[in-house]
Chain length 406, copies 2
Amino acid sequence: MRINQFIAALPGSYLFSDIAQRVDRYLSENPGKSVLRLGIGDVTRPLAPYVANAFADAARGMATAEGFCGYPPGDGEPDLIEAINRHDYRSRGIKLENDEIFISDGAKTDVSGLQELFSADTLVAFTDPVYPVYVDSNAMAGRLGEYVDGRWTRAVYLPTTAENGFVPPLPDKRVDVIYLCYPNNPTGTVLTKEQLKVFVDWARKNEALIIYDAAYKAFIQGDEIPLSIYEVEGADEVAIECSSFSKTAGFTGVRCAYTVVPKKVKGRNGDQWVGLNGLWRRRLGSKCNGVSYPVQMAAKAVFDEEGWRQVQENIVYYRNNAKVLLDTLKPTGLSVFGGEHAPYVWLKTPEGISGWEFFDRLLNKVQVVGTPGEGFGPSGAGYFRLTAFSTLETTVEAAKRVASCI
Amino acid sequence: MRINQFIAALPGSYLFSDIAQRVDRYLSENPGKSVLRLGIGDVTRPLAPYVANAFADAARGMATAEGFCGYPPGDGEPDLIEAINRHDYRSRGIKLENDEIFISDGAKTDVSGLQELFSADTLVAFTDPVYPVYVDSNAMAGRLGEYVDGRWTRAVYLPTTAENGFVPPLPDKRVDVIYLCYPNNPTGTVLTKEQLKVFVDWARKNEALIIYDAAYKAFIQGDEIPLSIYEVEGADEVAIECSSFSKTAGFTGVRCAYTVVPKKVKGRNGDQWVGLNGLWRRRLGSKCNGVSYPVQMAAKAVFDEEGWRQVQENIVYYRNNAKVLLDTLKPTGLSVFGGEHAPYVWLKTPEGISGWEFFDRLLNKVQVVGTPGEGFGPSGAGYFRLTAFSTLETTVEAAKRVASCI
């Protein structure tokens, strides 16, 4: 058989696998050493007990006639969808029907799968640096051309750096799709409603689609920053929004997420307009059999009053970690960004060295693992990401060690 | 934006959604009626208590520092993989390395996702009738041409009917990939090792790949029928095998499956040969974040001695249902197939009517729901599938009612 040349053409391994291998190599060459990990965005706080209890009860209930559940609905358990609509959308004045919300096993599954709805020649724009999954999933589908000197020849990059205050420029030509992630991974920065409106208006005018990744929305503080792109008028005509329980409720090992595909969002098929809601449902119907029922019951418990209270305790804990990173690193004179409305702190490397050089310096000198900006795209060069998802103790110690390397 | 024309071109809704809608319409037009469902292949027996306990313990443990788990490994928990290798493969003399086994949330996810490894112009053969997911996932990727009169113009169909004793013919031209499912869905028939070897030998000779769906292997009785394609010599050079806990252990609502991609299986990229194991790992790395940790702990418990004993009780229960269907329907003179090594009974409709006509007759006259053969492909015309996954009581009553309609 002949393989998909575009997967074979992907550069090396997936970023975080690559980092894991470097760390493993260091540890095998330096027995007895241990490293402090502020690299991959994985949570460390145990699950909220209220949520774990709901999970366990549903799991144990599967052994009883009353509690057993076979194939879950492909688009999600109605009670969970209703809880999401009520908590995340209706309460904020956003009107969505429940069949515009789809449950999945992870935002990664959805943000990587949504590109299947695009035509083969769809032109895609990405803010840069960016979560690698948006780019890789489109590259695998053959939409991005060739990978030359760290750039895909057919991708449209929207550089998002200190120079423009981390507000991405609009594409300088017509594109079909724009991926946006706010609060941003990796920069930890956010857009105001007005800044987001610029993109929504552009998408409406240019018949473009926005894939909006809101996986980190739980970290937004205050009322100024939108929690959902649908707070922007007209966004429900052009935007698909992905959210996740991973960071909101520590579900990285539980696996549950949700994606909104409003019925008003349409794409062209020749001279016809086709609703993406039905298209996504059709795709899901042939490609998955829904999400584990006990997992969905755990997710539902997140929105109960006690569940939400417990979940917030963990968010507060991680927010404090981000503050520790900012408070320790800013006095060193480093340029440090993000960390206020996001669990990520993004810094400019000292002396203009590359992110990978800084990675190696931190790993070898002080045994701290972060993520080099280059891993997130060409405009990530010379930047470095630290996450706030570790324990407070590790964060305090790692921040000190990083500061000592400046 | 412009949509993927190939998803829009898919015929109607997914088969089982279509059936569900017909049943819902019947029920809303006939209030007070209830239907006996032998349609979709969903299980009904509660989860084995031993397995549910392991599931619940892992779920509750997520609230503790010791029991918490973040992102699971993308290819699966090592302990689960080792249990699968030991139980399903090593014990039967099949040599696989653990990194040739990948855990997923469902065989549907894998059998629909594996086509992403194929080049865009890959030519694919399907036994016919067939589980619709193989066809639909390739159609969505644009490989099957157009859908004309119930057939895809670029698909190669291997008719598998009573005429050839349900032994599919070899493709009459070179193809890149062949999908095989044994025990077969929908026909409930099996292939002997010798019959399977014909396909393995052909694939080796023709540089073709076999995607082997073994989701129903738990229903095989005796020692004559292979449980794995790797029991055939050389299959580890040409075959990927998908298995699932759904039917083996009643996991349709729990969601866990596994796929073997041997390192010897390779595909061409121009004049280079590329291993599919690494390609699949790369694809998973960018498209999913592993399977829920407590779900994997439940799956692991299936292979413990007590777990396996309890799981077998349910298999025996469903096997008896299949026997009830066979014993009730054969005396009517109907041609009835399958049901011995599989949870599906496949019958030729009476008087040569279409499967959909028989579907409507059963629904309207005796309120029994099955699956029309046409839903599985052109050679399914005039056949009908009944499943053994209902309760014994429902199965006994439904069998009687179906017999009354002959």
